[in-house]
C-alpha cells in the first residue's frame, strides 16, 4: 500500500465538491436548529400546560433516538405517506430538528438564568413585554448561550457524514464512492479525516475566542 499523490490530485475536485455540501448542510442545519430550538423553547416555557408537556415529550423522544434512525425515517419512510423530499432537504431537516432540541435547552437555560429581579425591574420601570425582552432579557441571556451553541454546531458538523446514509453527496459519500470505484481507500478516507480535522481545529480556536469573549459571569 503506497500513498499516491497523483490519485490525490485526481480526486481532489470531487472531494472539495463534497466538502461544499458538508458545509452547506451544516450551515442550513444550524439555521433550522436555531429556529426549531426557539420554537421548542418558547412552547416549553410559555405554552398552556398540555402543549408544553407534549413539547417536552417530543424533545425527549427526539434526543432519545439516534439521528441516523431519524434521517432514515424522514427520507425513506415519509414518502410512504406522500412526503417526498430531496436528500439534502431531508438531511437538513433531520439535523435541524435533532440539534434543535439541544438548542432549545440552551435557550431555556440562558433565559432562566436571567434573575427574576430583572423582570421585576423592567416592570417597575413600566417597560412593555416586548421592550423587556429586547432591551433587558435577551441582551443578558444570549451572550452566555453562544459558546454552548457553537459547541453543538461543531458536534453537528462532525455528524454530517451520517447524511451519506440517505444519499446526500457530502464529503464522506463522495469519498466512499471514489474508494469503491477505484478500490483505493487510503487517500480518500485520509483526506476526509484531514478535512474534518482542519475544520474542527479552526472551530475550536473560534470557540475558545467566543468563550473568552462571552462566557464571563456578570453580577446581577
Amino acid at each position: 500500500m503506497e500513498w499516491d499523490w497523483e490519485f490525490v490530485h485526481q480526486i481532489m475536485p470531487t472531494l472539495l465538491e463534497g466538502l461544499q455540501i458538508t458545509i452547506l448542510a451544516t450551515i442550513l442545519g444550524a439555521a433550522v436548529a436555531a429556529a426549531v430550538g426557539l420554537v421548542f423553547a418558547i412552547l416549553r416555557m410559555v405554552a398552556p400546560r398540555p402543549i408544553a408537556r407534549a413539547t417536552s415529550f417530543a424533545v425527549e423522544f427526539i434526543r432519545g433516538t439516534p439521528l441516523l434512525v431519524q434521517l432514515y425515517f424522514i427520507f425513506y419512510v415519509l414518502p410512504d405517506i406522500g412526503i417526498r423530499l430531496p436528500a439534502l432537504v431531508a438531511g437538513v431537516i433531520g439535523l435541524g430538528i435533532h440539534y434543535g432540541t439541544y438548542a432549545a435547552e440552551v435557550y431555556r437555560a440562558g433565559i432562566e438564568n436571567v434573575p427574576r429581579g430583572q423582570w421585576e425591574a423592567a416592570k417597575a420601570t413600566n417597560l412593555t413585554a416586548r421592550q423587556t425582552w429586547i432591551h433587558v432579557i435577551l441582551p443578558q441571556a444570549i451572550p452566555p448561550m453562544i459558546p454552548a451553541l457553537a459547541n453543538y454546531l461543531i458536534a453537528m458538523f462532525k455528524e454530517t457524514p451520517l447524511l451519506s446514509a440517505i444519499t446526500v453527496l457530502e464529503l464522506m459519500n463522495q469519498a466512499k464512492s471514489i474508494a469503491n470505484s477505484n478500490y483505493r481507500y487510503i487517500e480518500p478516507m485520509t483526506l476526509v479525516g484531514v478535512f474534518f480535522l482542519i475544520m474542527s481545529l479552526i472551530s475550536v480556536f473560534f470557540l475558545r475566542w467566543l468563550e473568552e469573549r462571552y462566557a464571563r459571569v456578570d453580577e446581577r
Binding site: P115, G117, Q118, E120, A121, K123, A124, T125, N126, L127, T128, A129, Q131, H135, V136, P139, Q140, D218, E219, R220
Partner: protein
Amino acid sequence: MSEPIIRIDNIVKRYGPLTVLDGLSMEVLPGEKLALIGPSGSGKTTILRILMTLETISDGFIQVDGEQLYHMKKAGSLIAADERHLHKMREKIGMVFQHFNLFPHKCVLDNVTLAPMLTKGIARAAAEKRAMELLDMVGLADKAKSMPAQLSGGQKQRVAIARALALSPKIMLFDEVTSALDPELVEEVLNVMRKLAAETDMTMLLVTHEMGFAHDFADRVLFFDRGKIVEEGKPADIFRHPKQERTQTFLRKIIAAGHRV
C-alpha cells in the same frame, strides 16, 4: 383634608394554601411618607409588590390616584384590568428594590434613560440631561459611564433610586432598600432618601428594618404582623409608647439585635 392617593380596600393575597394578606385595608394621603415595619413574613413587602403589580391580589380593591389598579370600567361594570390598563397605572408608581436590580449590561446613564426613552418617547438628549440631574442629586454624576458591576452596593442603590425617579412617579415604593448593603454604605442611601423626602412632595411607602430612619423619615408608621395592621400612628408614639404587646415585643427584639431607635 385631601383625598387619599392610595386606597386599599379589604384585599386578600393567597399563595396556594398560605394567606399572606387577609382582608387588609389602608389609606395613604398624597405626599405622605409612610413606614411599614414588622417581622419578616408579615406581608409588608407583599403590599409594595402588589402596588407595583408584581403580584396580583386574590380579592379586594385598590384605588391609586383616583383609579382602580386591578379593575377597569367596561360598559358600566367593573372588570379585571388588562395589560394596557396596568401599563397606564404603573406610570404613577416607581419602586426601588432590596437587591437594586440594575440592568447589568447597561452603563449607569443608560440604566436611568432606558425607561423614559422607551415608555415616554423622550429624546435621548433630553433623557440624558434629566438623568444627569438625577445622578447629580444622588451624588453619582461622575459614575454616569460606569457599569453597575464597578459600583459599590450603596452606589448601585443610589442609581436605582435615580432610575425610578427618572419616570417622575407620583408614588415611590422602597422595599428594604438598605437591607442588602454593608453597614458602612447604609447612610449614603438614607441621606439620598432624606433629601428626596425634603425636596419633593412625592408619596413614599417604605418597608424597612432601620427603625431610626423610619422614626425620622415617616409621617406615619404602620406595624404589621401576620398580614394585618396591628398598630399605627405617629413615629414618636409607635416607637416610644407602643400600645400593642406584639409591637412592644417586635421593637424589643429589633433593639436587642442592635438596630438603633
